[in-house]
């Protein structure tokens, strides 16, 4: 498969009064053409910051993208872009859907004009052609009576409809990459399923690559080809969906999977949660960031950051448990068998 996006050692910090918050600390992953990659992790793990970096939406200051970070989009390094190049890239090559469609749409501009804006930003078309295109897009995302709807304002639509409008805006110029930053968090469960279905359908129909950012593993199960698990600004594990769900290698992924509510268990069972809090990113821990909360923690976890172990088919995890000398006892999943990556 052809590679579309390659994030390499991305490090992003925010400068606050309390000190430098190292939101993203060396994230690397790839997205192939036509592929859906889910980035999962709890709040504050750096997934949104990563997506904003790919869109060039990090405000500097207070943000800072560190030296040595690279984001390659079709072999061009985005981080060397000038503002004009960014403007050409955003919306046309890569689009983004945000979490809350109500605040993400301009309240005083009708939705038609908000879609048309993206079209006229990148294509040399007449107003009428752009309007026709906007109607077509609304139809594509499943909004009934699109011709009448384009004159409506965001507050006149339901939450699900608004998110569909956001998708229509994002797809207006047939982007090669669509970043969906928690697109279903603000919606109720049935609508969530509809929106995820829609993204999946459109992705198959248009061949767009998708980065789906979420903290809900249940959402990604049937849409993602690959999953990147992030924790405190780092990628702790990544691999194909099957790898992550059936052969997870990192204790954090184990804990996440255990925390997904299950329908097949008894009613009275308590929901599982991960004890403790994620580390403070102003002074990140020296060793493994998950060591504090990990039930399998060892002495070395506290002192030395774990290397990345590679398994079959691009499945990789950063955990000392996969070190050949580690005793593998009482583990819920099979550990080991990986090859240490020479960095």
């Amino acid at each position: 498969m052809e590679q579309l996006l390659k994030v390499e050692n991305l490090r992003v910090s925010y400068h606050s009064y309390a000190g430098e918050v190292q939101s993203v600390r060396g994230v690397s992953f790839e997205v192939n053409k036509g592929e859906t990659v889910a980035v999962v992790g709890e709040s504050g793990c750096g997934k949104s910051v990563t997506s904003k970096a790919i869109m060039g939406l990090i405000q500097c200051p207070p943000g800072e993208i560190k030296e040595g970070s690279h984001i390659y989009f079709e072999n061009q390094d985005l981080l060397s872009f000038q503002e004009k190049q960014w403007e050409k890239y955003r919306g046309a090559e890569c689009s983004m859907i945000f979490q809350d469609a109500l605040t993400s749409l301009n309240p005083t501009m009708n939705i038609g004009n908000q879609i048309i804006e993206n079209i006229t930003n990148h294509k040399n078309v007449t107003k009428l052609e752009a309007k026709k295109e906007a109607i077509r897009l609304l139809e594509l995302v499943g909004i009934p009576e699109p011709a009448a709807r384009i004159k409506q304002y965001p507050h006149e639509l339901s939450g699900g409809m608004r998110q569909r409008v956001m998708i229509a805006i994002a797809l207006a110029c047939n982007p090669k990459l669509l970043i969906a930053d928690e697109p279903t968090t603000a919606l109720d469960v049935t609508i969530q399923a509809q929106i995820i279905d829609l993204i999946k359908q459109l992705q198959q129909k248009l061949g767009t690559s998708v980065i789906l950012i979420t903290h809900d593993l249940g959402v990604v199960a049937d849409i993602a080809h690959r999953i990147v698990v992030m924790y405190s600004g780092k990628v702790v594990e990544q691999g194909s969906s099957e790898d992550i769900f059936y052969r997870p290698k990192h204790p954090y992924t184990w804990a996440l999977l255990k925390a997904v509510p299950r329908l097949d268990l008894q009613n009275k069972q308590q929901l599982v949660s991960i004890e403790g809090m994620p580390p403070d990113l102003i002074t990140p821990p020296v060793g493994c960031p998950f060591a504090e909360r990990c039930p399998h923690t060892m002495k070395i976890c506290q002192t030395t950051p774990p290397p990345t172990y590679h398994f079959e088919d691009g499945h990789e995890a950063s955990c000392w448990l996969h070190h050949p000398q580690c005793r593998k006892e009482n583990l819920p999943f099979v550990a080991g068998g990986g090859q240490e990556c020479q960095e």
């Binding site: 890239y89 919306g91 304002y153």
Partner: protein, 322 residues
């Protein structure tokens, strides 16, 4: 929308009636007797009595209020006590000058404050922002009568650039002449609004720029300039509509002092002399005018707001107004 308008009209009428009643009472409560302004110590008792009767002051306040109110309902604001001319006629003479001064000063304050506020908001916490803020603070704090006198001293007495008072030079009747007379009063009158508007627009701009829809616009590849003019400008000017509605009345009242200082032949000068001579039909007309402008200004602001902001219009349709 219709129901909303109707409700507001009824409310406005009630407010105006209350204003009229209380201002009538206030004139009555003011120390001294109205008649004392029109009676001289040299008059005999009979002459004094005749004057009081002629002015209608022998009747009680209630009677006079009812009479005045009946007149107003028929469009008759009575006759001025001091010069015996109909009040409405005098107002009609002076109103155009005041409206000219008011609208020019309002337009001036908007034209200057919108770009200033936007720039300050965009360049938040930079030197440019601080300078604009400083100017705004000075503008709010300067008493307008003081500024008026300083301007007369500088531009009329020292530099001899602008005329110090009036609306026309006698014998000259050109637009340029009127503009020259207009510059100083309009500027003095606008300075307070200018400063307030600038600060409002600045904080609105900062607030709107942090809204998420700006991020969406950016992620469509919209340039900074277009984001500002297409998205942010409208959203941050909306609250200014309400502000203008509220400020309209203060422009009339503000012109009171400014018009007196610059000898502008408008309502301010008229009102000033009416108060000095306890000319209550004139004062009442004046109060009613500024009350009406205030009520009407707010009403118009609400209607305008509804047209500018789609969210409000729906709210009015569903809940029949705030």
């Amino acid at each position: 929308m219709k129901k909303f308008c109707l409700k507001r009209v009824v409310e406005s009428v009630i407010v105006l009636i209350l204003i009229s009643f209380f201002s009538f009472g206030v004139i009555e409560l003011a120390p001294g007797d109205i008649s004392s302004m029109y009676i001289s110590p040299t008059m005999t008792e009979e002459e004094k009595q005749a004057t009081i009767e002629k002015l209608g002051l022998d009747r009680s306040m209630g009677e006079r209020y009812v009479e005045w109110f009946k007149g107003v309902l028929q469009g008759d604001f009575g006759v001025s006590l001091s010069n015996k001319r109909p009040v409405a006629e005098q107002f009609a003479e002076k109103l155009p000058a005041t409206i000219l001064l008011m609208s020019v000063s309002l337009a001036l304050s908007l034209v200057i404050s919108i770009p200033l506020g936007l720039i300050a908001g965009l360049k938040k916490n930079t030197i440019i922002d601080r300078i604009i803020n400083l100017i705004a603070y000075i503008g709010v704090s300067i008493p307008s009568f003081w500024l008026a006198m300083v301007m007369i001293i500088v531009f009329s007495l020292k530099l001899r650039l602008l005329p110090s008072s009036g609306m026309h030079t006698i014998g000259v009747d050109s637009a340029w002449d009127t503009i020259k007379h207009l510059i100083m009063p309009a500027f003095t009158l606008c300075i307070g609004n200018l400063a307030t508007f600038t600060r409002y627009i600045r904080s609105n701009t900062i607030g709107q720029l942090e809204e998420e829809y700006v991020l969406t616009a950016k992620s469509k590849g919209t340039s900074k300039g277009k984001i500002l003019f297409r998205h942010v400008l409208k959203n941050c000017l909306l609250p200014i509509i309400t502000l203008i509605g509220m400020r309209l009345a203060s422009l009339v009242v503000g012109s009171f002092i400014i018009e007196s200082i610059f000898g502008w032949p408008g309502l301010g000068t008229l009102g000033m002399s009416a108060i000095q001579s306890r000319d209550y039909p004139m004062i009442m007309a004046y109060t009613m005018l500024s009350g009406t402008i205030l009520v009407l200004g707010n009403f118009l602001a609400d209607i305008l707001y509804a047209f500018a902001d789609p969210r409000i219009k729906q709210g009015m349709g569903e809940a029949h107004g705030r």
